[in-house]
Symmetry: C2
Subunit: 308 residues, 2 copies
């Protein structure tokens, strides 16, 4: 009911990073897409199946190096319900390999509607006398703009089913400050949101002192990372913006506690498209992804100290 | 590229309301669910198909009374990808009957990821030499916590494809004030978000003076409705919280301009479950929904004056 399961994997693999699976079709090597078009025609189903083949090959090369994947829901929704079917299969495949799965959906709503999202992504749904797990992720990113009514329905499922959530606090994008940096009684909105995370998580603190309610804090804002790490001792951070978005490993130092814990850093495109950067053959994409994941692990733990 | 298409329908039907299609399986009359279980087994597919049957029958009775439907994505995601397939079919069916469709997804992300959501819900997606419209809604609810980076990708599609968005400003739930009522330089967050809506929409203003960027403002906060109506002359309001959530028609008055325009009021459960409230036979559910939709229209226009 905290992030202990994730943190144990991070320690075991000496790797506080997560591979973002945000598979735009143009990231998929052409030979895979072509084969899928031949089998299913030039359709959304073909696009989705090509992505699934791509994802599975990546997972096969990553599961013993990286503790978690973070599929970004938007890139699956983009291919309609066939894309969502493939999201489901990607989650299930990653879990079969022992990976921790965080669905990046930034979902938000209130009351019974938020319960529906919680059941969909982290919980179970009853149909007649049967019970189903529609998506079966371990964690979900959420947006806290609606306040406690939007978070409480998730806490129940986090507690009952040992799941976690990451609430947007300070996002990695250039315009994040338009609202998030504005001050409420001298407290920036991102810090106020962080304070709410501490409060929402207070009854779910695990053995590493982190609760089941984490926060999203961008690697592109190192000062806020350090400030929030000190301010929010029980809030695990999901840190986007490393690599492709411009944040480097040095800037990550402040996200981690003295044990090298308390944060997990995402990289999506740099891992998925490593084969393009290496200029190697498309057929070598999964091995190239593994090489980049290993490079990233070393880059991060050199700075944060988990390798000790 | 504004909300003109929607506003024209509202005027034509003398009805500034939208039917929320948030179909929990328990809202569906038993004879429909039972038939679906017999055909598809007790499965997520059976649940989804029962919901589709329910939705289509509701649309058949509502399309000449109510200008729009608002399917809530959470209640489809809840049934996994089969649920999302049925969301797609519901949207398509409502559009074939001439209804305006607003998907209530409260989506939010940045840059290329928000582009993916925009393409999924309001735009088109290219696969090989083909182009698909994955969901094909007319409008989408979104969450503006991430600032302009999260909204700009939508504006392009709104302009090019005559679509609209509704950004969460003041939500209808009891705890919405935890963040939204807090003040930034004497301006509450909900008003600051409203000001951003005015700015985001400034190049998309249509013939009724409303832009393509609307705001969600709850019926449960009549004072803020009136305040925001005056403050945001070009921002169309989507107003949840009428009926089941406790907001009455009298409190809606301030949401509308002097022409009875500028807002569209949602009712979900009261319409979908009208047959339960009436105590009538389940088989009469769609006619009961129509009766409630007509009652609601009269209740609202009596107060807001569009019937003149």
């Amino acid at each position: 009911m905290s992030f202990d399961r994730l943190i144990k994997k991070i320690i075991e693999m000496k790797n506080p990073s997560v591979a973002g699976l945000d598979p735009r079709l143009e990231y998929v090597p052409e030979y895979i897409t072509k084969a899928s078009f031949e089998k299913y025609g030039v359709t959304l189903k073909a696009a989705a199946e090509a992505i699934l083949t791509f994802n599975k090959a990546l997972i096969d090369e990553l599961y013993d190096v990286v503790p978690a994947i973070k599929p970004q829901a938007a890139y699956y929704e983009m291919y309609g319900w066939e894309g969502i079917r493939v999201l489901t299969e990607t989650i299930s495949y990653a879990k079969s390999k022992g990976m921790y799965v965080m669905t990046d959906g930034k979902r938000n709503d209130i009351g019974a509607t938020m319960e529906a999202y919680a059941a969909a992504h982290l919980g179970t749904v009853a149909v007649g006398d049967q019970t189903f797990e529609p998506f079966g992720a371990d964690a979900l990113t959420v947006n806290g703009y609606l306040g406690t009514d939007g978070i409480a329905p998730l806490l129940k499922i986090c507690t009952e089913r040992d799941k976690g959530i990451f609430v947007l606090a300070k996002t990695s994008n250039p315009s994040s400050g338009e609202l998030q940096d504005k001050c409420i009684d001298d407290t920036p909105v991102y810090a106020a949101m962080g304070d709410m995370c501490e409060k929402w998580g207070e009854n779910t603190i695990g053995e590493y002192s982190y609760s089941a309610v984490g926060a999203v804090v961008g690697a592109t804002y190192p000062e806020q990372l350090s400030e929030l790490r000190k301010r929010l001792p029980h809030t695990m951070f999901l840190v986007p913006g490393y690599g492709a978005q411009g944040g480097g490993a040095e800037g990550l130092r402040g996200a981690f506690d003295e044990n090298g814990l308390g944060a997990i850093v995402n990289s999506s495109r740099a891992i998925m498209c490593a084969y393009k950067k290496e200029g190697c053959n498309g057929a070598d994409f999964a091995k190239a992804a593994r090489r980049e994941a290993v490079r990233m692990r070393e880059d991060i733990v050199k700075v944060t100290g988990l390798s000790k």
